[in-house]
């Protein structure tokens, strides 16, 4: 029983962090039709900045700088590289490959700086734990759940109540119509990328916090698990991304938690279980749980 509760809380925390990353994928996809392969390296960049700055600026200051810088880098990536080329929305697949190139450059650079080290981020939670009834939880995990919930609620409010959110949704519906209605697509796009970058930087903090050993050069690859999360929910649906992330987080935690019972599936199946879940869901619902039933435009 305790194991189960433990596992569920772990899954919830993981899912909350995946949601930050998945939401970034979805916002970028909605705004530009691009699958951002550079997301992992943006995440790594955010984490790295916190790691090198927290000694001088304190954790909060470092986090603020990291979030803003990552947002700026993401926005610049969109504005200076992706939007430079063909403005045609059909060019999204080319832009997707451009993000691969950017990812290679960023990852190479950050890996070179990080090397084989484990960087600490100086977060205030450290390795403290809190007892919640029968279970003990790492403070960092509780923080992940709380902060993610607040931030995601904020992002949803942005979608719903700000002109930018309205423009974003309009642009996702029909680019040409939105442009005719006076939506400044390039700015809407860029802000979407900024938001996604900021979310990625925030996620990095929780991915590197206890009980993880710290920030490694491979931390960015965790962003890949947000792909199935985003897809599970339906790529164009932010609430879907949230639900998908929780599902992925719980699956991963459950499989890892009951590893010994599932040893037939091989060691480390927890890492790939999200993908298995995703394939099954896509077989039943080809556009994800919350995706609009994919209308084929003739």
């Amino acid at each position: 029983m305790t194991t189960l509760l433990d596992t569920l809380l772990n899954g919830l925390a993981l899912g909350a962090v995946y949601a930050l990353v998945a939401l970034g994928f979805v916002v970028i996809f909605k705004a530009s039709g691009v699958l951002n392969f550079a997301h992992g390296s943006l995440l790594l960049l955010g984490g790295y900045l916190v790691a090198v700055l927290h000694d001088d600026l304190g954790f909060a200051g470092a986090l603020a700088v990291a979030v803003l810088t990552t947002a700026a880098v993401a926005g610049a990536l969109d504005r200076l590289l992706l939007q430079r080329g063909d403005p045609d929305p059909k060019a999204a697949h080319v832009q997707t490959i451009v993000t691969i190139g950017v990812d290679i450059i960023l990852v190479t650079d950050l890996s070179r700086r990080i090397g084989g080290d484990l960087l600490t981020l100086g977060d205030p939670w450290g390795d403290a734990v809190t007892g919640l009834g029968p279970v003990t939880v790492a403070d960092s995990r509780l923080a992940a759940i709380v902060v993610s919930t607040v931030v995601i609620a904020g992002v949803f409010a942005l979608f719903r109540f700000t002109p930018w959110g309205l423009s974003l949704r309009a642009a996702a519906e029909d680019v040409e119509a939105a442009a005719l209605m006076g939506v400044r697509l390039s700015r809407v796009r860029m802000l979407a990328w900024c938001l996604a970058g900021a979310l990625a930087a925030l996620a990095a903090v929780f991915l590197a916090a206890f009980p993880a050993p710290g920030l490694e050069r491979t931390t960015g690859q965790i962003a890949l698990k947000a792909f199935p999360a985003a897809i599970l929910g339906g790529m164009a649906s932010p609430p879907g991304a949230l639900a998908g992330s929780l599902l992925i987080g719980l699956t991963e935690a459950l499989v890892a938690g009951y590893q010994s019972e599932l040893h037939v599936l091989g060691e480390g199946f927890g890492d790939v279980a999200p993908y298995a879940v995703m394939v099954v869901v896509l077989l039943v619902r080809p556009t994800g749980l919350f995706g609009a039933k994919g209308a084929v435009r003739v």
């Binding site: 039933k293 209308a295 084929v296 435009r297 003739v298």
Partner: protein, 328 residues
């Protein structure tokens, strides 16, 4: 090659009318989308070898009707029969193989030359599979050559002879529209469904397309179902007219009868005053023509079939999974 192909290719387009195609019966077809009734027990019969026009205001259900006929949309009730063959619920590619071809309201062509597009029309009539094409077996090469010859004939027939090897994207709007018509003809159809074949065209292009439709109907002896807002064209070409309004059949008859039909005039003009002068038809067609000639539309080559009303958005949903076999 199946019998239909060889028969038709051998005789060629100039060899005079073929045996009359079977009649197309539409019986009490009803289509509903999320509570909306897009078609309400609509019935009509397309007589063999005739031109049958479907007219009505936007949202009347004309396109939905075409989607039912071509298998893109499954009716909730009713039946579509081609001769004795039940088309209801067949996958689109099966209906195509039975000789029902269609064009789209907005141009839907594929990348490549005119010949590439027209050769797609020969798909159902040819057989070369992956292995035969990959290895370029003599049968596949021969088949491709034979069909290419026929494609050139059809291109000539439709006035595209000079453009056979031109990339479609470089053609004028009217020519691209005609590529669609020619591609549908390449299926050697027995029934040809034309969805607004002259929308957005100028006067000369309209006349040319009308000529093509008249010619192919005479020479190939096929039945034509025509959805068109250009009333002048409808009245000149059609043998029979069915008028739809809000998914129901409002009227049916010869063009002359329709012209005088009080219900039709009311639906179109919002007045009961019968007036038989051709100016009325001019009045009918002008706003539509202006609307469809929107320059924005001419640039959307591949996107096409923008939903014009909410029902059509939903109906495309049904298109997502054509009921077909999965196994290769």
């Amino acid at each position: 090659m199946n019998i239909r192909t060889t028969g038709r290719t051998a005789t060629g387009p100039a060899a005079g009318p073929q045996a009359a195609p079977p009649a197309l019966h539409v019986r009490d077809v009803t289509v509903r989308f999320a509570g909306l009734t897009a078609l309400d027990a609509v019935s009509f019969t397309v007589a063999p070898g005739s031109v049958h026009a479907l007219i009505g205001p936007n949202g009347a259900g004309k396109s939905t009707c075409f989607n039912v006929l071509s298998g893109l949309c499954r009716p909730a009730a009713g039946q579509v029969l081609l001769g004795d063959t039940d088309l209801t619920g067949l996958a689109p590619h099966r209906i195509a193989a039975l000789g029902v071809a269609r064009t789209f309201q907005n141009i839907v062509t594929t990348e490549g030359t005119v010949a590439d597009n027209l050769m797609l029309g020969r798909h159902a009539l040819s057989r070369a599979g992956f292995a035969a094409s990959a290895l370029r077996l003599p049968g596949a090469v021969r088949e491709q050559r034979a069909h290419l010859d026929r494609v050139r004939e059809i291109a000539e027939l439709t006035g595209l002879g000079a453009h056979v090897d031109t990339p479609v994207a470089l053609l004028s709007y009217g020519d691209r529209k005609r590529v669609e018509l020619a591609r549908a003809l390449c299926l050697e159809p027995r029934v040809l469904l034309l969805d607004e074949p002259v929308a957005g065209m100028n006067g000369a292009e309209r006349a040319a397309t009308a000529d093509v439709v008249r010619t192919v109907r005479e020479q190939l002896g096929l039945s034509v179902v025509l959805v068109e807002h250009d009333m002048g064209l409808v009245m000149r070409l059609a043998d029979e007219v069915t008028v739809l309004d809000f998914g129901r059949r409002l009227a049916h008859g010869t063009p002359d009868e329709i012209r005088r039909h009080p219900e039709v005039l009311r639906a179109y003009l919002g007045t009961g005053a019968p007036d038989e002068t051709p100016e009325i038809q001019e009045a009918l067609e002008t706003p539509e023509a202006a609307e469809t000639a929107d320059p924005a539309e001419t640039t959307k080559t591949t996107k096409a079939t923008e939903p014009t009303d909410p029902t059509e958005t939903t109906e495309e949903t049904a298109v997502t999974e054509p009921p077909g076999e999965n196994a290769p």
